[in-house]
């Protein structure tokens, strides 16, 4: 049937396939004590305080802190003998009424190069934190709230705040995780740690279950068990972080057995991971939650200055159904921006109620004049607004898929009550740019927006006057604020300051609950869902039960990695 030429072509194709097969070789057998974790973003530096979140996650392997929180958000000591508290006398108040915390380091701790860990390491990093010239990284509130740090002896350090400071466990904490004997000479020579080879993986020593043994830039990072670690010995002798940028390829890599763990993938990929044979998929409650933010007082649509209109809009949206449909079964709609443990019991959730939404809009003077659902409601007798002004809102979000999906569904819901929206997904760097960079949020050039802004998971103190305070509304004179939605409630400002300095836990909780109520009364923030942190592990390599020993804060995915066990 075929002549000699097509036969030659088929022959050529066969030779090619055979050559490929020879090159491929047999798939490598996997070492039982090696764990490969897919890592979606390679940090430029190992400095956990750099602005790259995925650097912050790596210190769980090689550089633990003074303490951490377990899967139940219970604090436990690591470098210190015990967690300081008023009960054990390690948290006191000085004559000025300010909080003083004593850190007692455990005896016998060693860096991975064998040098002892002492109070000098803590003093060294305090010095770096207090002097911006000695390093470019995020310092948080530390330089603003810490008065002094004093070395008492080789294993005892006392940190004094410049005010009552109830959040000493979670904020502005003493850091002893950087070796003075390595980084000190760098600062002496160069005046800064910015260019220290330590942060590029050269001579990196730390205090953790693993030690960095190789960093193939652009490819992978290898950690080997640290023989000098005095905590639980890790069951996996080697952990490899493999950098894979593409989310589809991350899934393929798990399916092909090239990685054993994928994590932090988005909700829309969960089903795909669950479909992989042998994978065990689980999640922990997240700390980031997407929400609708309404521009209530910074140049937004005039209708949004009325709290009843804002309330009406949210009653028009079935957030529970959207969470169920777009995120996943069982996803809850958060009632408040604050972490749940600070919510008062009577905090309401604005339920889906179209009739109420229509009623509120009409009562507020936004009427369906032509009784045509295809046209927007218009103003009728609204103070300061010309009659006939349409209720059309500019609706922004980033290009993250789930947010754009939400945007589209919300548009449909709002159409039902005669509110029209102009959907504009934009890159994050345009939405969140500074006021001076013409950022959409900061300049108030929006009416509605969907995005996430994390609240502290451990503290009720927002400590963000530039985000929510009256002083934080950005203007040409004060361009540094981030309160682009223009919500101003002096009572909330006062309460938040009180929460920040109230040490007594009971009194603090009461103040916090009142602050939560005030926040709710603004109706400028409406939660959509809390983004869960997803993990998928290859159950042929990892014991899935042991892998559930993970953290639930924003940067401690692997804080129990030494407890992970190989599959039976």
């Amino acid at each position: 049937m075929f002549g000699s030429k097509p036969r030659r072509l088929v022959g050529l194709a066969l030779v090619l396939v055979m050559s490929l097969t020879l090159l491929v070789g047999v798939a490598q057998a996997q070492e039982p004590t090696t764990l490969v974790i897919g890592w979606e973003q390679e940090p430029p530096l190992l400095n956990p305080r750099s602005d790259m979140a995925f650097a912050g996650l790596m210190d769980e392997f090689y550089g633990r802190g003074v303490w951490d929180w377990d899967v139940n958000r219970q604090i436990y000591p690591i470098m210190v003998e015990e967690i300081p508290s008023p009960d054990n006398g390690l948290v006191t108040t000085n004559d000025a009424g300010n909080t003083v915390v004593t850190y007692k380091l455990r005896e016998g701790m060693q860096w991975s190069d064998g040098e002892p860990i002492t109070a000098d390491d803590c003093m060294f990093w305090h010095d770096i934190m207090m002097d911006p010239a000695k390093g470019t990284f995020q310092r948080g509130v530390y330089p603003d709230v810490v008065e002094s740090v004093t070395k008492v002896d080789d294993l005892t350090v006392v940190l004094a705040y410049n005010a009552p400071f109830p959040d000493y466990e979670s904020q502005a904490t003493l850091t002893c995780s950087f070796p003075e004997h390595i980084l000190g000479p760098v600062v002496e020579a160069e005046g800064t740690i910015d260019n220290a080879p330590y942060f590029l993986g050269q001579g990196t020593v730390g205090y953790g279950p693993y030690v960095l043994s190789e960093w193939q830039v652009g490819s992978s990072m290898t950690f080997d068990a640290n023989p000098l670690w005095d905590g639980a010995a890790p069951a996996f002798q080697r952990v490899i972080l493999r950098f894979i940028l593409d989310s589809a390829q991350m899934q393929n890599a798990l399916e092909a057995g090239e990685i054993d763990v994928a994590f932090n993938f988005s909700d829309d990929l969960v089903e795909g991971y669950q479909a992989i044979a042998g994978s065990d998929v689980f999640s922990t409650p997240g700390v980031f939650g997407d929400a609708i933010w309404m521009n209530v007082g910074n140049g937004g649509h005039p209708a949004l200055s009325d709290v009843n209109v804002r309330r009406a809009l949210i009653h028009a949206i079935d957030r529970a159904a959207l969470a169920e449909e777009l995120v996943g079964p069982g996803t809850e709609v958060p009632k408040s921006w604050y972490a749940a443990q600070f919510w008062p019991e009577d905090l309401p959730l604005d339920e889906y109620d179209v009739d109420l939404a229509n009623q509120l809009l009409t009562e507020a003077g936004w009427v369906d004049a032509d009784e045509n659902p295809a046209t927007p409601r218009v103003a009728s007798g609204v103070e300061g607004v010309t009659d006939g002004f349409p209720l059309v809102l500019r609706f922004y979000t980033t290009t993250r898929q789930i947010r754009m999906d939400y945007q589209t569904f919300i548009q449909e819901y709002l159409n039902e009550v005669g509110v029209q929206t102009l959907l504009t997904p934009v890159p994050a760097n345009l939405l969140f740019a500074d006021f001076l960079e013409n950022g959409i949020l900061d300049t108030g050039d929006f009416d509605l927006a969907i995005f996430a802004l994390s609240a502290g998971a451990l503290s009720p103190f927002a400590n963000a006057p530039e985000w929510f305070g009256c002083e934080g509304i950005p203007t040409a004179e004060k361009p540094n604020g981030n309160n682009g939605w223009g919500w101003c409630n002096p009572e909330w400002d006062r309460l938040d300051l009180e929460v920040g300095v109230t040490v007594d836990p009971t009194a603090r909780l009461e103040l916090a609950q009142e602050a939560v109520r005030q926040f709710y009364s603004g109706a400028h923030w409406h939660g959509l869902y809390l983004r869960a942190t997803w993990y998928a592990v290859n159950s042929a390599v990892v014991n899935p039960e042991s892998a559930r020993m993970v953290g639930t804060l924003s940067s401690n995915y692997f804080n129990m990695i030494e407890m992970w066990q190989p599959a039976a």
């Binding site: 602005d51 911006p132 590029l200 652009g218 493999r242 393929n252 399916e255 994050a428 740019a433 994390s454």
Partner: protein, 343 residues
């Protein structure tokens, strides 16, 4: 010829700078490179100011461009926001061989390029060699067998392959040769990466990791190039001088590979001259999908963070490469066809 080359180089200089000005300006209007910090309330204004100051982002835009050109080691800045200048910058500027410091990678752009360019040359260079060799073979083969079954099959495959977007082709190849092959217990190719981190990153391991990205890049290009070569070969083998060569009794191989192919490859030289600068830029999609840490992979990450020093240097490098290879193409043209003269 020498005068021509010098004139072309002199003409290129303002063009290159114009390109950098345009790219720099566009990037500056694309948003705030540190905007991603805005979602983190623990990042204080002091932190942001410090970071912006160190990266020179608080300087006026024209000044940022000037610093990129001639450096900022003469320019004192207020680093801590107290209104008093603290220290000068550390950059030498592109005119002194310093491409600046990357925001994303936190190291000099020169170092970033030095890390990523060799990997791109390995991937894209291999893919290009594979493309040219296979396209030549297939193109000539198809031309010599015009309208036969083999030609029709090649034409059909070319159209199908050429119609596939590279990301789709890449994911299909991964699914078949990495995922499904492994499931079926067959020898499988790696999904992504430069080498297996469990292994020793030996040469044969790198070659295994090269296969799928090279195939993704080459298959589509082979389809296009081979059609091009087939067309030009068909044109040449029907010309008078080829008939004359045949009538003089020259062997068919000599006619095809020495006389016809040389003339048929003239337009191909233009094509190659235009495509080679693209090799330096890396295959953005392919490198990202396969986590191949080359220039394309680097570009994706830099773009994500509006890393102006790196992106502008990248464009500058490509612009210079385009101009250089255009010039080289002209020279090769003159060598291949002695009738061509430049003045």
């Amino acid at each position: 010829m020498f005068k021509y080359i010098v004139r072309r180089i002199l003409q290129a200089i303002p063009l290159v700078f114009l390109i950098t000005v345009i790219v720099f300006t566009l990037l500056k209007f694309s948003g705030d490179p540190l905007a991603y910090l805005a979602q983190d309330p623990t990042v204080t204004e002091a932190d942001r100011f410090l970071l912006r100051a160190k990266l020179g982002l608080n300087d006026p835009m024209p000044l940022q461009y000037v610093h990129w050109l001639i450096g900022d080691n003469w320019y004192w800045r207020d680093i801590d926001g107290d209104g008093v200048v603290d220290e000068p910058g550390t950059r030498m500027g592109i005119l002194r061989g310093d491409l600046g410091e990357s925001f994303r990678f936190r190291k000099s752009v020169n170092d970033v390029f030095a890390e990523h360019l060799p990997r791109t040359l390995m991937l894209a260079g291999t893919a290009y060699i594979v493309t040219v060799v296979f396209a030549l073979v297939i193109g000539v083969f198809a031309a010599l067998r015009q309208y036969t079954i083999a030609d029709n099959i090649i034409t059909g495959f070319s159209f199908i392959t050429f119609s596939l977007p590279v990301f789709l082709l890449a994911l299909i190849l991964v699914q078949v040769f990495a995922v499904e092959a492994r499931k079926a217990g067959l020898p499988a190719l790696p999904v992504s990466g430069l080498c297996d981190p469990r292994g020793d990153c030996s040469t044969d391991e790198v070659i295994r990791h090269l296969i799928l990205p090279v195939l993704s890049l080459s298959l589509i290009s082979i389809a296009g190039y081979s059609r091009y070569i087939r067309a030009t070969m068909l044109e040449v083998i029907n010309t008078d001088y080829v008939r004359t060569a045949r009538s003089k009794g020259l062997s068919e191989n000599r006619i095809i590979f020495l006389h016809a192919l040389k003339n048929a490859s003239l337009p191909l030289v233009t094509l190659i001259g235009l495509d080679i600068p693209g090799i330096l830029s890396g295959a953005v999609i392919t490198e990202t999908i396969f986590s191949w840490p080359g220039m394309g992979y680097m570009f994706t990450q830099a773009l994500d963070q509006l890393d102006a020093p790196l992106l502008v240097s990248f464009v500058l490098m490509i612009a210079i490469a385009v101009i250089a290879f255009q010039l080289l193409t002209d020279i090769v043209y003159a060598w291949l066809d002695p009738r061509i003269r430049y003045t």
